[in-house]
Amino acid sequence: MFRAAVRLSVSGVRSLTRAQPGCQGVLATRGYSHGKQETDEEFDARWVTYFNKPDIDEWELRKGMNTLVGYDLVPEPKILEAALRACRRLNDLASAIRILEVVKDKAGPHKDIYPYVIQELKPVLEELGVSTPEELGIDKV
């Protein structure tokens, strides 16, 4: 799964600098000492479902995003797509742009993640009419 490139954990630093998805799976976020580990696919599916809730409200959108960015990973494009569509249902363009900003911030020093995500999200961005921060000129101070 294409996850955040650097996981500063005991398992070491695994750098994903390719722009392709479908790389070897990275271990799940949760460090349980027992019980089944959630796979990356399960994690992604859970979050996509969360944002796909048809009558999601503003609080749930905020809570979802603020929680998601607390994890040590960059969310998959499919999760972000669901979040952007949730913004559309809530008529909230500003939050949609903010979500793109935070993706770039989460990628940190891995400068190739954000362009990849934008590239993957391009159809959705065009469909919904969401401008990227770069297009609006707010990617610089």
Partner: protein, 173 residues
């Protein structure tokens, strides 16, 4: 914290104030600084919290309101300026603005050096007006005689001072 008199509990409610005939106690009190009502959700710009609890601008002008109406339609129909305006209604700082560095560190370092320098001046003054005379036991020939006496006494002969002195040759090892 602004002074608010000696009330132990919180400010009186409208009702109670009317009861107590304390009309001036409600609303504008004698506050010396701007206060924030911490019981309400606050707006914050933080990289960890992309979507704050409240939008930055909650009081909208008519122009803002009509823009918000337009936001309900297709976003493709919004111009760049309108999209930017919508962003700035909801958020104060963009991520790059949040992450901006400031030159504050120069002020901090400068102030630290300044006060170190000032301390130096104080100590200089003390040297002139406060400190007693330097004891003569610090002088060169006294120190030499002291060292010779210590070596003669065989101070720390096993691993310390005298063990480093070669008594045959009369020099340090």
């Amino acid at each position: 914290m602004p002074t608010r008199g000696t009330r132990a509990e919180g400010p009186p409610t409208q009702h109670k104030a009317a009861e107590l005939n304390m009309a001036g106690a409600v609303g504008k009190r004698n506050e010396v600084s701007d206060t924030v009502d911490m019981s309400k959700p606050l707006y914050t710009d933080s990289v960890d919290v992309p979507l704050p609890d409240i939008p930055y601008k909650e009081v909208l002008t008519d122009a803002d309101k009509s823009l918000k109406q337009k936001e309900k339609g297709p976003w493709n129909q919004l111009s760049k300026e309108e999209k930017l305006a919508l962003y700035r209604l909801k958020f104060l700082k963009t991520y790059p603005e949040m992450n901006q560095t400031t030159p504050e560190w120069k002020t901090v370092i400068g102030a630290a050096f300044f006060f170190l320098g000032f301390t130096g001046l104080i100590i200089w003054w003390q040297k002139v007006y406060v400190f007693p005379e330097r004891p003569r036991t610090f002088e060169g020939d006294w120190q030499e005689k002291q060292l010779k006496r210590m070596l003669d006494m065989r101070i720390n002969p096993i691993e310390g001072l005298s063990s480093k002195w070669d008594y045959e040759k009369g020099q340090w090892k």
